[in-house]
């Protein structure tokens, strides 16, 4: 079977889940006739009809509200944000209405909110965001951010089948840049499980999404210097797979976190606290963060490159950490 892109993996997951389960519907801006701004829903309207593939006005709050209302009647809506940056427009509907629904009044809201996120494609300050940390601080969501086509398909299927609201981030840098052969039969990847992408013993690099590939690139360069980095792909940020993280740090005694969202208030801070609480005696060095600058995402390629982490920055930081 020919390898497929990350984008095709997303499309296949939606297609197959909709074909198998009439409860699954897609709602968003330009998802129908146009097939989505990135063509992730191409062909879905033709196959499933416009009762199940719903083009909406430019109204993110209404999209989320309507998806939530649909979920209360037993449907499993997928709500698309055309760019994930626009999730800020429905922040209230998500954090106050959707996320609290099960805790407050025992009403599950099985829905997926998905959309293209992340930088590196010169999208500028409003088309490059990684807003996952806004939502990590909101009890009630599951947060998924895959890095490979295999995971993207398997995790999206798990997200659709989950009884909780899942925020599913798709790094647009990966959409057409990576390909992978995936099984033809139905499969899922469980939520809440990280995966070791490269084994190593000198230090642990935790990452996900596009930075996952950056970390692997750095790990390859480190290996040439005799430093064997263990690279872990978190895949799901909420719930976070603490077990895999702690097992690795117990072995390597050093931890570096690479994330593309800005440094202050980032996931590295949370992981750092977890390590202090649960693995203090395993640590031989400080937790090191490689993250984006604490600025909006700038537009000019030179500025954006300065803003984002890259393999060189990870390599330098890891080499310093390995000295401890």
């Amino acid at each position: 079977m020919a390898p497929i892109t990350f984008l095709e993996a997303i499309r296949q997951a939606m297609f197959e889940e909709m074909a198998a389960d009439p409860r699954v519907v897609l709602i968003g801006e330009d998802v129908g006739v146009y097939g989505g701004a990135f063509k992730t829903s191409e062909g879905l309207l033709e196959k499933f009809g416009w009762e199940r593939v719903i083009d909406t006005p430019i109204s993110e709050s209404a999209i989320i509200g309507a998806a939530c209302g649909m979920s209360y009647l037993g449907l499993r809506p997928i709500a698309e944000m055309q760019f994930i940056d626009f999730i800020a427009c429905c922040f209230n509907q998500l954090t106050n209405f959707v996320a609290k629904s099960h805790y407050l009044w025992n009403a599950p809201a099985p829905m997926v909110v998905r959309g293209p996120s992340g930088g590196g494609v010169h999208g500028g300050p409003f088309h490059s965001l990684n807003p996952e940390m806004y939502f990590l601080h909101t009890p009630g969501f599951k947060i998924v951010y895959p890095s490979t086509p295999y995971d993207a398909k398997g995790l999206l299927k798990s997200s659709i089948r989950d009884n909780n609201p899942v925020l599913f981030f798709e790094h647009k840098f990966l959409y057409r840049r990576i390909k992978e052969e995936i099984p033809t039969e139905d499969y899922t990847v469980p939520l809440g499980k990280a995966i070791v992408r490269r084994e190593g013993k000198h230090l642990t690099i935790l990452s996900y999404a596009a930075m996952m590939h950056t970390s692997l690139e750095a790990a390859a360069a480190l290996a040439k210097e005799g430093i064997e980095a263990e690279v872990i792909d978190l895949r799901t940020l909420l719930p976070l797979d603490e077990e895999t993280i702690l097992n690795s740090v117990e072995k390597t005694n050093k931890c570096l976190v690479v994330h593309e969202h800005t440094k202050t208030g980032g996931i590295a801070g949370e992981i750092s606290a977890i390590l202090f609480e649960k693995a203090f005696h395993d640590l031989d060095g400080p937790l090191v963060r490689v993250a984006s600058l604490d600025t909006p995402v700038p537009y000019a390629p030179t500025l954006e490159e300065a803003f984002l982490p890259n393999a060189q920055k990870v390599f330098v930081a890891a080499k310093d950490l390995a000295k401890f």
Binding site: K47, S59, G65, Y72, N96, Y103, P108
Partner: protein
């Protein structure tokens, strides 16, 4: 006052319906009176929001719904909850944060719902959010083949939120079976409606969405009910969302802590003379629908029920602290086995037959033509009357329907209603 002079009263209801409306308004008021006493005894944990003087709206609108229909009340719609079948004890335990409450103490006031039986969706404090949610409920109901109507409420204050616009516009563009009750009680906390909205009638906003609207005297329960009933049936028939502005007055402050000294005395006096329950009692007496004995029986029945439920609530325990961290997530099928109630063949939604004509393909949909009698002409796509839009041409860009979309049925003559607002 611009509201209609209640010709609706002339429409005959059954004796039982007249009595029901009276019962629920009395129950609404006495539930709140009981809670006011509990509040003064420090037994209500948080705030208490009164609907004194607005009972006719909650009761009259909710009474127009059927059991299968869905509602999402706002904070002052205790009466709507009671009509839909919520026992007073649930309202007491909610306000007292008891473990026996519908949310087991996780939230208070009218913030609770019931997906399985009563079809009630819990409100949140952020105003307007329920409008798109109930739009989604109506859309899902249509998709499942259920002939349901979704009803929710908003105040004059909440009608200024962005999500009010997003929600109502989506509902209008989807022709969702949504009935939105806009309770104009003249005050958003301390800000009078005149300083919020430069409109005489908030129902005028319906024009902007190409939907129908009504204005009704919110202190006349029969007018409210008959208007809501007509709106519910029109929405159910596929006419799209309908906005009802009910004119009334908030006789208490925003909540118990607020003495509302900003309200002019004359305004308060005017509205106190128009108490909806007193007005309705006069009507019932004049029409010989209820005598003194009947009233007393109702009063006794309510008193007995409320005493029992209040006692239950007062004797209920607070939630155990260890439940605080429970229930953030649904644990899966053993926690909730979520299955929709299909009332249409499911296989017509799955390949290869998933391209059938949508069942919600209703007249005017997608052609920019409103059901509203005021905007019967096309509003977006040039001056092409609906009948002139060929089915082929209409279906072509979508490429979904294998069968051509049937030409739209001839538009029925718009119903004239003396109550219809905004004209």
């Amino acid at each position: 006052m611009p509201a209609s002079e209640t010709p609706a009263k002339l429409k005959k209801l059954s004796r039982q319906q007249y009595v029901d409306l009276y019962y629920y308004m009395r129950l609404n008021r006495e539930v709140e009176d009981t809670m006011t006493r509990l509040f003064r005894q420090n037994k209500i944990v948080g705030g208490l929001y009164a609907s004194l003087g607005q009972e006719a709206i909650s009761v009259g609108t909710a009474y127009a719904l059927e059991k299968r229909d869905w509602m999402a009340p706002m904070i002052r719609n205790i009466g709507a909850l009671l009509v839909k079948g919520v026992p007073p004890r649930d309202i007491f335990t909610q306000h007292m944060a008891k473990y026996t409450s519908p949310t087991k103490g996780k939230d208070g006031t009218s913030h609770f719902g019931d997906l399985d039986n009563l079809h009630i969706i819990s409100p949140i404090s952020m105003l307007g959010d329920l409008i798109p949610v109930m739009t989604g409920v109506a859309m899902a109901g249509r998709y499942l083949g259920q002939k349901i109507v979704a009803m929710t409420w908003i105040g004059d204050g909440g009608s200024s939120t962005g999500v009010f616009h997003e929600g109502l516009n989506l509902a209008a563009s989807q022709k969702a079976a949504l009935v939105l009750i806009l309770e104009n009680n003249l005050w958003a906390y301390s800000t009078p409606v005149r300083r919020q909205v430069p409109l005489e009638n908030l129902a005028d906003r319906a024009k902007a969405y190409g939907i129908s609207s009504y204005i009704v005297d919110g202190n006349d329960v029969v007018a409210v009910y008959t208007t809501a009933k007509e709106a519910v049936e029109r929405a159910r028939a596929g006419e799209g969302p309908i906005l009802i502005e009910a004119k009334t007055f908030r006789r208490r402050g925003h909540a118990q802590h607020d003495p509302a000294e900003y309200v002019p005395k004359e305004q308060r006096t005017h509205w106190e003379k128009r108490d909806p329950i007193a007005l309705y009692e006069e009507f019932l007496t004049a029409e010989k629908l209820l005598d003194a004995k009947g009233k007393k029986e109702i009063g006794d029945k309510i008193h007995e029920l409320l005493e029992k439920d209040r006692e239950f609530a007062e004797n209920s325990p607070m939630p155990p602290p260890e439940t605080a961290d429970q229930g953030v997530y649904c644990a899966g099928p053993e926690c909730h086995n979520l299955q929709p109630k299909w009332e249409r063949p499911v296989d017509e939604l799955l390949p290869p037959k998933s391209c059938v004509d949508p069942v919600w393909m209703v007249e005017g949909f997608g052609r920019g033509v409103s059901s509203s009698s005021s905007t019967a002409a096309p509003i977006h796509f040039g001056d092409v009357p609906p009948a002139a839009v060929s089915p082929e041409k209409d279906a072509a860009p979508i490429k979904v329907t294998k069968k051509p979309v049937p030409p739209p049925a001839k538009k029925p003559a718009p119903k004239k209603s003396a109550k219809r607002g905004g004209r």
